[in-house]
Amino acid sequence: MSAFPQPLTGIAAPLDPRGLRDNVDTDAIIPSREMRSTGREGLADGLFAPWRYTDVEARTPDPDFVLNQPEYCNAPILVAGANFGCGSSREHAVWALAEWGISAIIAESFAPIFRGNCLRNFLLPIALPASVVERLGGEAVTIDLAAQTVSAAGETHDFAIDSEAKRMLAEGLDPIDLTLTMRDEIDCWTATDRAARPWVYLESQA
């Protein structure tokens, strides 16, 4: 796995140039019908399919959609409104964004499952007030994860991220490997819990 690029500088693509769009759901980011295989690859083609193509089947690009425009098609940063990534828990939404080349999303807020999925894929979700977010679309933005700042057009804004997530992103850590180093503590806890809550522990059926 790869760590979050440090620092990241690039154009921030406004998902909707007319204003911040709230409640962008994961069905819009990647519709279920675009999840054609059981793996996590090959999803970028379906990213934002309903908005990106005028004819989804023929894959005819809609020139009005931001990621189809030459100045934004390689943007590593996406800008959106409140509750970004709501709806289905499908991690395919994050896999599709990452495969397309998005490394960070700046939004007013994020839906919780989507935010967790971002962190597990080293894609940085940054929540900032709407008044700040709406000025970032179209700007060259620098994100400094270590300093927890977003800079653009001579302004710098601090963002919050919990220390665990920050460390995971900065160092490109695999959480499963990290947790497995605590196996003894987990085993010890489980033994105690088994005595206290025996109904939790089931006999194998398979």
């Binding site: 069905d27 991690e91 994050v94 497995l180 109904w199």
Partner: protein, 461 residues
């Protein structure tokens, strides 16, 4: 200082603090389905990782299985059979209990988990499915995660988590006749927004919640994710314990004094509190493309985002009732349990859906629900009214590329999401209770279910 139910469950599952200051939380149950389960199990196999305790991991085929009577592994979704066959093989290899396509107990994950006693009060349960919050109705901390987190939970028996904030949503008073649990949760989201619960675990309390049966409580908790909450839960009471006692994976009895501790202390402090007058709630129906775009069925359509009006094809200022419909759907983890089907059938009995309704589906939440409904003759009522009676599964709650509604349809649906394209490209969805779906299907346009109420329905409500 008192503790909330959430505090108690969290505390009881905190194995350790991580180096980064997060909590390592023990996970008691993992539930997979074929849409995302194969991805998680496949990746684990690639990485040479194994399931720590397979006896506490379950899986079901529900998302893309065919729901037509006589089904097999074939599905109308292009490539869908690979999801089914790979999930089956991966579950077998990992020693995971699978409720397969035509297993007697197959059904939608959040319907069969309580039926099988897999979810229990006080447990932590995760599934790579956003509506896992449904199971919070039993006083479990149950929430949806992504595939990577599902792998983490299966391999380590834990998740690394920052503790969410807590919120109490209290529904005071009692529901008026003809108003349902679905209307309660839609009213909350309409008033406080689709992001209103962000970052919070929401405990639903109050007299209107206490009065609900377990199926109604599941409907309320189901849409906590549409409120952007981490999850929702309800303190278990005698109704919860009676529902679960003796089920295949549940204890025979809930006599242990431990179970009585699973409630918020009277002096517990929540980070946020919302109070709603349940008696003022009317039947609700969505008008737009987010669950927050919802009004009482007697209201007019408000001014919303231009994109929502454009997609749904309805202008602000018009009454929502009377909007002509092309299709009707009763199903999903929100509203496809026996009581939902009974209430819809009561409205449909002796009536026919309008000729303009080209597709009308009734999809039971599980095969067990289906059998129970058939034993009461509900299938014959649905069919006589013009609904197709199906096998269990998620069906057309979402469009996976296979079976769909007729192009351009406007659908009244007992599901949970009215997103653009959720039920198919260009399909316009209005979410509502099963009663409202039934009444609207008869009318051929969005209708108030109270106009079709029968005396027994009023008593039952």
């Amino acid at each position: 200082m008192g503790l909330t139910l959430f505090d108690k469950i969290w505390g009881a599952h905190e194995v350790a603090k991580t180096q980064g200051g997060a909590s390592l939380i023990a996970i008691d149950r993992v539930f997979l389905h074929e849409r995302t389960g194969a991805a998680a199990l496949g990746r684990m196999a690639e990485m040479g990782r194994t399931v720590r305790d397979p006896a506490r991991v379950f899986a079901v085929m529900d998302h893309i299985v065919d729901t037509r009577i006589g089904r097999g592994d074939g599905t109308l979704m292009p490539g869908g059979e690979a999801f089914i066959s790979e999930t089956r093989a991966a579950c077998k290899a990992a020693g995971i209990t699978l409720f397969d396509v035509n297993d007697r107990e197959q059904g939608i994950v959040h319907v069969i988990s309580p039926e099988q006693g897999i979810v229990l009060p006080g447990l932590t349960l995760v599934a790579p499915d956003s509506h896992t919050c449904t199971q919070g109705a039993f006083g479990a901390l149950a929430w949806g995660i992504g595939s990577s987190e599902a792998e983490h939970a299966m391999v380590t028996g834990t998740l690394r988590l920052e503790k969410p904030r807590s919120m109490r949503v209290r529904f005071d008073g009692m529901l008026a006749p003809g108003v349902t649990p679905k209307d309660m949760i839609l009213a909350l989201i309409a008033e406080h927004g689709a992001g209103g619960g962000a970052g919070h675990v929401v405990e639903f309390t109050g007299s209107a919640i206490a009065a609900l049966d377990m199926e109604g409580r599941m409907t309320v908790c189901n849409m906590a994710t549409e409120f952007s909450a981490v999850t929702g839960l309800i303190a278990p009471d005698a109704k919860a314990f009676d529902y679960l006692a003796g089920r295949p994976h549940a204890p025979q009895t809930f006599d242990d004094p431990y179970w009585e501790t699973l409630k918020s202390d009277p002096e517990a402090i929540f980070d946020r509190e919302i109070v709603i007058d349940a008696s003022a709630i009317a039947p609700m129906v969505s008008w737009g493309t987010s669950p927050e775009h919802t009004v009482a069925v007697s209201d007019t359509i408000p001014q919303g985002p231009a994109k929502a009006h454009d997609y749904i094809g309805l202008a602000p200022g018009a009454p929502i009732a009377g909007t002509p419909l092309d299709a009707a759907f009763i199903g999903s983890c929100t509203n496809a349990r026996l009581s939902d089907l009974r209430r819809a059938a009561r409205i449909l009995e002796g009536r026919r859906i309008a000729p303009s309704i080209r597709t009308a589906l009734a999809v039971p939440g599980s095969l067990s629900v289906k059998r129970a409904a058939e034993a009461e003759g509900l299938d014959r009522i649905f069919e006589a009214a013009g609904f197709e009676w199906r096998m269990s599964g998620c069906s057309l709650c979402f469009y996976a590329g296979g079976e769909g509604f007729p192009p351009g349809s406007r659908v009244i649906s007992s599901t949970n999401r009215n997103f653009e394209g959720r039920q198919g490209p260009g399909i316009r969805t209005h979410i509502a209770s099963p009663e409202t779906v039934a009444a609207s299907a008869i009318t051929g346009a969005i209708a108030d279910p109270r106009d079709y109420a029968r005396p027994d329905a009023r008593e039952a409500a």
